[in-house]
Amino acid sequence: MAAVIGKSAAVVYGHGENGSGRGGGSFLGPRVPAEVEAMARGVQELGKETFRRLLKVTVNALEGKDCKESVKLIAESSNLSEEQLAFLISGMYTLLREALRLPLSTFKQEVFKEDLKELRIPEDFIVDFSSVVFGNRRPDSEGMALKQGSRLPSVQDFKWRVDVAISTSSLARALQPSILMMMKLSDGTAHRFEVPVAKFQELRYNVALILKEMNDLEKRSILKIQD
């Protein structure tokens, strides 16, 4: 009894940490998602060619590309029903997405392959899945995160200008420098504003300070803890 509880606790709190003897799930969580199970069953009868095409569509979807056309092609050329296609692709998508969430430094190929074996996915297909996650065909996670991740907008385009006001309606000889900044952010908004020289110095100082803090943070031991 205690051993079973211990095992499930390990599965919940330690994604893929321990070696053998885990119940089903592991990197997919304590319960395997329904579509992954359905996919694992359905994939057994698939031909290698069809499987590879489906895998390609899934990888494109993970990278955020539009796959309607390719899915239609597969539907026409193979004898798979729409329903079958649906759970095959969604199962592969979920499987790969969960695997890609884990950083390569802690998630090892052997563990991944073991887990897929437990789902009874054919050996050939395990190799293909593996090469997507661990090989150099790994979908760009930074790119994915930028599009779908939950984060504040980042600077996409930054233009600036330094002006010197020679004369104004209030001053015959002003000779005052000023900075005009135009920032385009990743959420599509654009901001144009003037920065007085004193404020600019403050901005520069603060950015340098943050960089220094980041450097210190990255050197600290908390970041060296392997998990």
Partner: protein, 199 residues
């Protein structure tokens, strides 16, 4: 300077005679008050109540008071525009027949806060949006829906941009990774190099 800083028009002449009649005791205070608010565009320096008190204090009718205040502001704005020295301001005032004591009052008020006032005018900008505040936060992102077990430092910069129309500060939030912030910093350094080359 030969240039006519204060033109001799009818309204100026009338204003000068009114000014000469005004009590000298309170005059310097009036000057400094006007100088304080000179750089603020739309605001008038005095409220309704204060104007009424001034009318009584200087025994001027409402219209005359307005003329006097506007003339003083005009003279001071001209002093700003031409970056006059206190002595030349005094000369100009004497040439339009302002009394000695009033001209002296102008000169000493200008000597005291003239440069500061000019500086305030210099800082005035024409673009509607100006960066007012800078705030930031350094976070260590541990995970997100797309990726777990990260340990990536992320900086959030909060830029407070004022808009001339509204009184509210628009807050612009921008997030940076280490690399992105470093690139941003390099761009700021380039701007700084440009500023340095101006001096």
């Amino acid at each position: 300077m030969a240039a006519c800083i204060v033109p001799e028009s009818d309204s100026i002449r009338r204003a000068v005679s009114l000014l000469n009649a005004v009590d000298s005791g309170r005059f310097p205070r009036l000057l400094s008050r006007l100088l304080q608010k000179l750089h603020l565009k739309a605001e008038s320096s005095f409220s309704e109540e204060e104007e009424e008190k001034l009318q009584i204090a200087f025994s001027l009718e409402k219209q005359d008071l307005h003329l006097v205040l506007e003339t003083i502001s005009f003279i001071l704005e001209q002093a700003v525009y031409h970056n006059l020295k206190p002595s030349s301001l005094q000369q100009h005032l004497q040439s339009i027949h302002l009394d000695q004591d009033k001209a002296d009052a102008f000169a000493s008020a200008w000597a005291a806060v003239g440069q500061d006032t000019i500086e305030k005018f210099r800082q005035r900008i024409l673009t509607p949006q100006k960066l007012e505040t800078i705030g930031w936060q350094l976070n260590l992102q541990m995970a997100e829906s797309m990726q777990v077990k990260q340990k990536s430092p992320r900086a959030i910069l909060e830029l407070g941009v004022s808009n001339e129309d509204s009184k509210n500060l628009k807050k612009v939030f921008v997030e940076f990774s280490h690399q992105e912030l470093f690139e941003f910093y390099n761009k700021l350094e380039t701007i700084q190099a440009q500023l340095d080359s101006l001096t």
